[in-house]
Amino acid sequence: MKVAIDGLSVAYRTKDHALLALDQVCLNLVPGRITALVGESGSGKTTLGKSLMGLLPDYAEVKGSVRLDGQEIVGASEKSLNEIRWTRIAMLFQNGAANLNPVHRIIDQVAEPLIQHSGAKKGEAELKARENLERMGIPASQAVRFPHELSGGEIQRVLLAMALIMDPEILILDEPTAGLDAMTKSFVSRIILGARDQGKAVLLITHDLDLARNMADDLAMLYLGQVMETLPARDLLMNPLHPYTLALGRSYPSLESHRDLGGIRGDAFYRVVHRHEEKNGGLRPHSHIVGAGASHTNGHSPPKGCLFQPRCTQAVPECTEKAVALMEAGTHRVRCLRGGIATQLELKRVSKRYGNIAALGPTSLSLRAGEIFCLVGETGSGKTTLAMIAAGVLQPDQGRRMFEGRDMDQWIKEEYRSLARKIGVVYQNPAEAVSHRFSVFDIVVEPLKIQEQLRDKEEIRKRVLRVLSDVHLSTELDFLGRYAHELNMGALQRLCIARALVSQPSLVVADEPTSSLDPSVQAKVLKMMLDLQIEKGLTMLFITHDLGVARKISDRIGVMLAGRLVEVGPTVQIMGRAAHPYTKLLIASAGGEVSADSAGPGGPSTKGCPFAVRCDRVQEECKEVFPEQVRLKEGRHLAWCHFPVT
């Protein structure tokens, strides 16, 4: 049995407001597949579940259509709904024990649907109920008890037994594993998978990303009542297309992800539709997104346009004006004007030589908006060169560069400053990166002065003070007048970061920004950079020799050796299943700097793989030919090796 949800909109009406729970949702449930509906509170996911069974309260206004094999649910009579409820479609609600009548016995409640729907005699029904319960691990002695006598895990099993008693074709589960012990969790998961294998269509409603990723076949990401993306479950961490999906993946403490928790800037709790009186006496409906600190005047969502825009890291002005529909993108469907996460920077086969030395072999790289990319390698690996080319500081000998879709070389020629504004650079040695004749204020204000971004003195001053407080530096007058040598390294580096951020760039390139700092200071600065990245939605290109640092802050890692990229991929993949022998060596050396016994005499001008000299899997081929790019199973993981480790 197929479930087709088309254009479903649900609003809960209060006196003069309406709470918009769902907005034009389109989704399909297919037999033999588990679809996970992922969303945070206020996303409307429980409302969606309930609307499939026609369980919405009277004050809910429902538009659109929900069809179970052609039978329309929306607006159907209670009588016709009662016929299919539980028999063809059943739901496991949240809140465990609250779903059971405290004064009826367990066995009675499980047997009840059988008696009511199929007219079975009490004896037969109880027998069948007892069987079901036993299958769920509830012995007959427990079955005759009352709900308050059972533990949380047992209750969940009972609810499952009850839901499955009529063998429905469609199963809806609302947070089925929340608050359960590990054993019950795995039991419940097995049952759900079993149900799927029996050919049921399963809708799994949850905010638990791990659960969704592990159990479901498809995911639908719900935000404030709209589906932002639908994708195959395995793509959740590896290849999210929508900024919200990416951000959510980052926010979830999972055993698999390495990067520190992010979060999404801003807040959004739910959507409200008001009716406002206009001057001529008519009523005008308009909607808000209600969040913390949002008042009636500033909490307005754009009248049209993208719902996620206020919190998005890559919003463009268009996003507030044009409405966005869900569009196909390969195996995904995405609701984004920019077609999903946009590419911030793209480098195509850039290379650079210094005289005889090939500092950088032909290398391609693309950075997605809002991600943190770490370039890891030893000294001389070419990472700084690559980063500076990316920043627009160095010109490559060959290759093309695109920044936000525009050719960089063109751009630089025409109006460099407007590009410079969008890129902030933080250097390795803060003490040298600033002039000792400049005061703190001067240092920070310099980019603004150079780029002539702002005219008004007051505006400039405000901007400087704000960015100083962003990096947790004082904004007191006498601090502003201090000189560089009066500050310690940690403060200096923070100052440099402030300088890089003052022009509100979209890309920040940081070259080993914490290497020259003490470990404790390093930690603080890194943490601060991470927070800033989330707050401001920056894309970061981070250079480091320290895999440990890379692991902690990046979404993707690129490993460089002797001027070439040897492996690129999501941090999770690289750290867990590195394919290139060199990467494995780096990881094995556990964070300590790998000795810079060089990559062989002659460096990158040698043909063949630069790691051939040190590799333990080396073959004849490796010394002759530079390896082709190998695309590994999980999509965005690439390695350059003849014999990658699988």
């Binding site: 069974m53 369980l55 209670e78 709904l81 009662n82 016929e83 299919i84 409820r85 539980w86 028999t87 059943a90 739901m91 609600f93 809140n95 609250a98 779903n99 059971l100 009548n101 405290p102 004064v103 009826h104 009840e112 649907p113 009511q116 729907h117 009352f146 308050h148 006598e149 009850m162």
Partner: protein, 325 residues
């Protein structure tokens, strides 16, 4: 282990009630001893009853005897409750005659008001927001505000005096011989007005309470689950919701007994219905202290017993109570 908890809790409450009973009996026992000196004369001098010297001496002896509490208890349980000087009958006999009438009146009134109040409350809550519900709640609240005295007098004036449809007083027509069937009809006719009064007095409370707790129960999660199971509305309403709404009503009944007793007392008196109430009223009018004592003690213990029974009933209805710590 759980079984022990159950009996422990039972024991707990039963102890409270036994203590209360003992206290009552003791108070009844010792009250006369608190009375000032020659109250007997002072009391009876202003009453309608004239005692001859023998009766007066007997009364005084009764009140000054230094009887032990133990003996008093024994006397109590063997129904030796003393002698009424106003009626010249043993007290136990008087109470024995009046009790069935009171039970008939109160029992029927409570039963009817609970059944109707409950059903009406359940149905009203189910139809929340409709005109019927609002009208029901409104009218019930108004009736709740009218004290039994008021209702009794109004009904008396209207139906007995003005329209003459029903008798104004008594439990049955005196000095007439009836067949069994005729007697029942006669008692019935006399029962109507006091019954109606008490019914109207008890109905609103039951209705409003049931409705209130139904409204709350209907909001519970398990009701939604029941709906999701595709169960017929009638079953959801009664087997699931009303069953849970029953609980507060049982609790409340116990708490309201004091209130209800007073009302019943007054109503019986107004209709001169030959139950314990009228008996008490007459005893007070005639200053028959032993009789007053006897009735008070007896009815208090009866109430205690009812409360105890209610407690057990509640435990039986609500499975959670047994194991609550």
């Amino acid at each position: 282990m759980k079984g022990n908890l159950k009996s422990m809790r039972r024991g707990h409450y039963t102890v409270a009630y036994l203590l209360a009973a003992l206290v009552m009996i003791y108070v009844s026992y010792s009250v006369p001893r608190w009375l000032p000196g020659d109250f007997v004369t002072a009391m009876y001098s202003s009453s309608h009853v004239t005692l001859n010297a023998e009766q007066e001496a007997g009364l005084r002896a009764y009140y000054t005897q230094r009887q032990g509490f133990g003996q008093y208890l024994v006397d109590f349980f063997t129904l030796r409750w003393g002698y009424s000087y106003a009626f010249l009958t043993p007290i136990s006999k008087l109470i024995g005659e009046a009790l069935p009438w009171s039970l008939l009146l109160l029992g029927t009134a409570h039963l009817l008001s609970m059944v109707f109040g409950f059903l009406a409350g359940v149905e009203a809550a189910w139809r929340r927001g409709g005109v019927i519900e609002k009208a029901g709640v409104g009218s019930m609240t108004v009736i709740e505000g009218i004290p039994e005295i008021g209702t009794a007098v109004i009904l008396l004036l209207l139906f007995a005096l003005h329209l003459g449809w029903l008798p104004a007083a008594g439990g049955e027509t005196a000095y007439v011989t009836h067949s069994a069937g005729q007697r029942i009809m006669d008692i019935g006719r006399h029962l109507v007005l006091p019954l109606a009064t008490l019914f109207l007095a008890y109905l609103p409370g039951n209705f409003l309470l049931t409705r209130g707790s139904m409204v709350m129960v209907l909001k519970e999660q398990f009701i939604e689950t029941a709906r999701a199971k595709g169960l017929p509305p009638l079953r959801i309403r009664y087997a699931h919701a009303a069953r849970n709404a029953l609980l507060p009503m049982v609790t409340r009944f116990g708490l309201r007994i004091a209130f209800m007793l007073t009302g019943a007392l007054v109503v019986e008196t107004i209709y001169a219905y030959p139950g314990l109430g009228t008996l008490l009223f007459n005893a007070i009018a005639m200053r028959d202290l032993p009789l007053i004592q006897g009735i008070v003690l007896f009815s208090s213990l009866l109430v205690l017993f009812v409360n105890l029974a209610l407690d057990f009933l509640y435990g039986w209805i609500d499975p959670r109570v047994k194991y609550a710590s």
